[in-house]
């Protein structure tokens, strides 16, 4: 006879009785890990100051989430890795030499105002890190656009200020950019490696692509947003990128400079703020690519990724509505 005592201890719960091992925090920490190569390259090129900036950004983000949740007696969920990720992304999106109060303000705006006030993880409309950065860029325009020459020497604290490749491209054109970097091959190589001025975590294309490959391989992101985003941007850059003539722009320079890769793989793909239906994600990516290039080529900023993604974030709910999935069997009514 089966053990009677045991019987009273049987666990009764509803199906399904098995679950996948994937958890929200595992996803978030994996994304954090995937950004590591880019952060390491940023630290290598921009020195300890860059590391501190990222660290402060992360610490403020996690702390402000903790304090906010504690104060409102919400469940403390800082170990899910999402606040850490917001802090990390914000830090990576800052110039290497900002004063330390800048990441503090940015992280607070990102985590408390953009995310927690909307209800916390899953309920925010905008990508928190990008709102944090947009707030800083608009409030502290000078500080947020002082770019340092990469030194590739970890000890050197005071690097020269310089313009970013996109800044040069916008103000003085492709020929000047060539002049600065020597030739085309060297330009591409430096952009790939990350030996150029820019935000801490956006410069090394190779490092970002390694992280992106990891996320794609693990299925944490899909190709839909990055491919449509980058594809659209590349096509527009090729067609309208050169002044005065069509189909003469350099799409590779555009893809590898500014925050294009960081934005396309790590920020536009943010689950909460992008559409969840794959077809809609393609439209979302196209929108991001289009707006990025519109701002880069016609707008007042050399860079457009941040505003492009934020604007497209507004459309995510609408896109999900428009691209509602089709029920199985509904397509071919009465098929036989």
């Amino acid at each position: 006879m089966a053990d009677i005592k045991k019987e009273h201890q049987l666990i009764v719960s509803v199906s399904p009785h098995i679950k996948s091992e994937e958890t929200t925090s595992r996803i978030m920490w994996s994304v954090n890990a995937s950004l590591l190569p880019a952060v390491v390259m940023g630290a290598y090129f921009f020195g300890p100051r860059a590391v501190f900036t990222v660290a402060i950004s992360i610490i403020t983000a996690v702390l402000s989430e903790y304090i906010f949740q504690k104060a409102l007696k919400r469940k403390i969920a800082v170990n899910d890795g999402s606040a850490f990720l917001t802090g990390l992304l914000l830090g990576m999106n800052l110039p290497p030499s900002v004063p330390f109060y800048i990441p503090v303000i940015g992280s607070f705006v990102a985590v408390v105002i953009t995310k927690q006030l909307f209800g916390g993880l899953g309920f925010n409309v905008f990508n928190p890190a990008l709102i944090g950065r947009a707030f800083l860029l608009i409030s502290f325009p000078k500080l947020m656009t002082i770019w340092k020459e990469p030194t590739a020497a970890f000890v050197q604290l005071d690097a020269k200020t310089t313009a970013t490749p996109l800044g040069i491209l916008k103000e003085e054109g492709l020929s000047k950019l060539m002049e600065v970097f020597g030739d085309k091959i060297n330009l591409y190589t430096q952009l790939l490696v990350g030996h150029r001025a820019g935000s801490i975590g956006e410069t090394s294309s190779i490092a970002l692509l390694i992280g992106a490959a990891f996320l794609l391989y693990r299925g944490y992101i899909s190709w839909h947003i990055p491919v449509s985003f980058l594809g659209t941007a590349a096509i527009i850059a090729w067609i309208f990128g050169a002044k005065g003539t069509l189909f003469a722009g350099d799409p590779i320079v555009h893809l590898l400079s500014g925050g294009m890769l960081l934005g396309a793989f790590f920020m536009a793909t943010d689950y909460v703020t992008c559409p969840s239906v794959k077809k809609g994600q393609i439209l979302f990516g196209i929108g991001c690519g289009f707006l990025t290039m519109l701002i880069r080529l016609k707008g007042g900023y050399p860079e457009g990724v941040m505003f492009a993604i934020l604007i497209m974030n507004c459309f995510s709910p609408l896109i999900d509505r428009g691209f509602k999935t089709k029920v199985f069997g509904a397509r071919k009514e009465g098929n036989k």
Partner: protein, 435 residues
């Protein structure tokens, strides 16, 4: 050859290795059986015996009331010792007949008719109905109802469901291996009743030997084809199976017969063969008793009404860390609070999970809109939206997201990284709004 499938679905570990090599063995004769009068979807049966009455194996103890109903028979010879309400694995209380087994195995009259295939479709259908055969994959829909399609819905294909996509279960697999010819005969009877000349047997390709054996068995049957299916849950869901095997899509809220198809389970086919040839009623079935929490996983031929506690004992009892006992598979089965529950016609497996495999669902996170559930929903729904709307109390709005097309396979809940009880929230919404 590329294996057939449908869009979406999940890949849980199949765990079939625990029991797949275990031959189907008869259980020890149970001391008593508890035979519920409701073992099918549809109207309950009317009691046909009284306390104290002697019955033989195959005697009717409950007669069907209504078209969507199926008679129930005694699975032992013996004496009716009690009639009363007993729980099913789902927890539902139903009137049941308790019969004490006299171990004499006396049958009510059975006749071997080797020429059964010459019977008319109506005669064969009557045999299926009288034998009380229901779908043995779990849903327990009376078989003869599926065999009576209305005139305006002509059926041209019969598909046998050998997918057995629920992890752990191996009952249908063993039947295909051990009783191959009976499976084929069952399919031929189904084709004869429905007057169709296209039969398919869909089998997931994690059962390569079953595929090979079945292929050999039908090599001389030009009208029957074995279809290799991708290993994927819920490949055995009727609509998914039809899509994978012959590419037809059953319309939303439609039935397989809307696209000219009737689907039956492997076990059902064997039961139909036995009913057609011998007039044998459905009084026993194969049950896989398995899981990491049971000492000796087995495939057993079990008399309907045998208590789960008897089966656990038959399999050497629990391991010390056994924590949850499930009737059916891990995806759609029911956790039981008591082991004094009878095996019914729809019981495909008893799964014992140890403590370490138990997923504790208390405390789930917010939806992070990752879209995993949308990507895998075999019905093309947006489970995330359904769950969020239901959670917030917007039950009516769930209908905009095709609430009633969900057949509760649980794939969404399996993949959700926030461990949200998505399918439970969908069930809640279903119970609160009208279609």
């Amino acid at each position: 050859m590329a294996t057939a499938t449908f869009k979406g679905g999940i890949h849980p570990p199949d765990k079939k290795e625990l029991s797949k090599d275990k031959n189907i063995l008869p259980t020890k004769p149970p001391k008593r059986v508890v035979i519920p009068l409701v073992q099918h979807i549809g109207a309950p049966c009317k009691l046909a015996v009284s306390v104290g009455q002697e019955v033989k194996k195959g005697d009717v103890v409950g007669t069907p009331e209504g078209f969507v109903s199926a008679p129930v028979h005694s699975s032992v010879s013996g004496k009716v010792i009690a009639i009363g309400d007993f729980p099913l694995a789902t927890g539902r209380m139903v009137t049941s007949v308790v019969i004490e087994n006299n171990n004499r195995e006396e049958w009510t009259s059975l006749k071997d008719n080797p020429d059964y295939i010459k019977l008319s479709p109506d005669e064969l259908k009557a045999k299926v109905r009288d034998a009380g055969i229901v779908g043995m994959g779990g849903a327990a829909f009376p078989a003869h109802v599926k065999l009576s399609p209305p005139k305006e819905k002509p059926v041209d294909v019969v598909i046998l469901n050998g997918a057995e996509c629920e992890p752990y279960l191996t009952a249908d697999y063993r039947l295909m291996i051990e009783r191959t010819q009976e499976v084929v005969e069952g399919l031929k009877i189904l084709m004869k009743i429905l007057g169709v000349n296209k039969g398919f047997i869909g089998i997931e390709n994690n059962k390569p030997d079953a595929i090979e054996i079945m292929k050999n068995a039908v090599s001389g049957e030009p009208n029957i084809q074995v279809c290799e299916l991708e290993v994927k849950y819920p490949q055995g869901a009727e609509k998914m199976l039809i899509k994978a095997t012959i590419g037809r899509e059953v319309p939303p809220r439609g039935l397989p017969m809307d696209v000219g198809v009737v689907v039956h389970n492997i076990g059902t086919a064997v039961a139909i063969y036995e009913a057609a040839r011998y007039g044998k009623p459905l009084i026993e079935r194969v049950v896989t008793v398995t899981g990491e929490g049971i000492k000796e996983p087995k495939n057993l031929m079990v008399k309907i009404g045998t208590l789960v506690s008897d089966l656990i004992e038959e399999c050497g009892g629990f391991k010390s860390d056994a924590a949850k006992v499930i009737s059916g598979g891990p995806m759609m089965g029911f956790a039981m609070y008591s082991l004094e529950v009878p095996v019914t016609k729809g019981t495909s497996g008893i799964l014992v999970l140890p403590e370490e495999d138990i997923v504790h669902t208390d405390g789930f996170g917010p939806c992070i809109r990752c879209g995993r559930c949308i990507d895998i929903c075999p019905m093309g729904l947006m489970p995330s939206m359904l769950s969020v709307l239901s959670e917030k109390g917007f039950y009516e709005e769930t209908k905009d997201y095709n609430l009633f097309d969900c057949f509760e396979c649980g794939s969404c809940t399996y993949v959700c990284p926030s461990k949200r009880p998505i399918v439970q929230l969908i069930r809640l919404a279903k119970s609160l709004v009208k279609p």
